[in-house]
Symmetry: C2
Subunit: 209 residues, 2 copies
């Protein structure tokens, strides 16, 4: 996923934090290593020592996001016994926007979440998926989905499509948030209300009943 681990050096940290800001600002297609190199005041070639392309950088960011989400899922479900309550809390983590930026100094988690919800499709939806999947590029996301799928099976062991349900909910909620801001006729909510999270929670509980 990376050529050199970006959290082992200052330059690496700077690449991560500034790429998050720049991708958020420009969008993934207009984001380039050249522009990033100007922003971080280092030669382009130094960035290439960490990541072999902007595509693998996006995969790295996506993967980072999902391990971080996994960690947050553990935190909100710890010491809670009821599987239903666990699921409810987990779904909130998955479908609500991230509002605070605290954990890791060089990562703005609020912006990272924004990027993931709008740009991460572009990380999997390419002709290289199969190979990248083989190399474990998507394991952190798959783990999260799988974990919640197991929670669902605790509640209803006969439910046949827990993975399908969860990935639908995760990506659906990202998409709906985007639509409410940009293509409102594809949704039923203005960007200020918070209806999306409730909609998807309801969807899950109705489906597994």
């Amino acid at each position: 996923m990376y050529l050199k681990n970006p959290d082992t050096s200052e330059l690496g940290n700077s690449i991560i934090s500034n790429s998050i800001e720049l991708i958020d600002e420009l969008g993934f297609e207009k984001f380039t290593f050249k522009k990033l190199s100007i922003k971080i005041n280092s030669p382009e070639s130094s960035i290439y020592r960490y990541f072999k392309s902007k595509h693998t950088l996006l995969i790295y960011l996506t993967s980072w996001y999902w391990s971080w989400t996994d960690y947050r899922l553990v935190l909100t479900t710890i010491n809670i016994n009821s599987p239903k309550e666990k699921l409810k809390r987990s779904l909130n983590i998955l479908t609500e926007p991230v509002l605070e930026d605290k954990l890791v100094s060089y990562v703005n988690e609020v912006l990272l979440h924004k990027i993931i919800s709008t740009e991460s499709v572009k990380a999997y939806q390419t002709k290289d998926v199969d190979e990248e999947n083989k190399n474990g590029c998507f394991t952190t996301y798959k783990n999260v989905v799988n974990q919640i799928a197991n929670l669902i099976l605790e509640i209803n062991p006969t439910f046949k499509f827990p993975h399908m349900l969860i990935s639908t909910v995760v990506e659906g909620s990202h998409r709906q948030r985007y639509y409410s801001a940009h293509i409102p006729s594809l949704t039923d909510t203005k960007s200020n209300e918070d209806v999306i999270s409730k909609f998807y929670s309801e969807l899950v509980f109705k489906m597994i009943k």
Copy 2:
């Protein structure tokens, strides 16, 4: 959406039919007008007379797909009175893969559907959405969603999120088909079974009940 209407000339037709094949073959990011120009044996500059970029070509194809889908929706629901039956049939059109290629000589609808389901996200998920949306680039898709949303309201006039539900179903089913072929841990089906369509129909009917 286009600079010159591609269905008014042979070259235009050739651009459309060959771009569908080439995007399917290479994926959208590796597809270029240069490669297309070699395939159709015409200079690159001629393609630029029809479309100002590969991005607007993708928008054109997406838009074409949704008007065609609209037409198919009319066909399958005509003369049917029960709104529930109408909805059921419409959902099949929206969630099942396209298997036959008949309507328009220069468009391979089977391949077009494949492209739409894997690549069309890249048509809306960019920094230019707002302007493109203003210019009506997404109206054909919005029309389809809106039409089915109205059907839902016929069945349950108090349901609050028909657009959200339908866009979730449409895009979810595309996504799940992709996952079953490429990232199976994110779904619960092998690419040969047909479980996806049923899952999303059930989802709709459970939600609007």
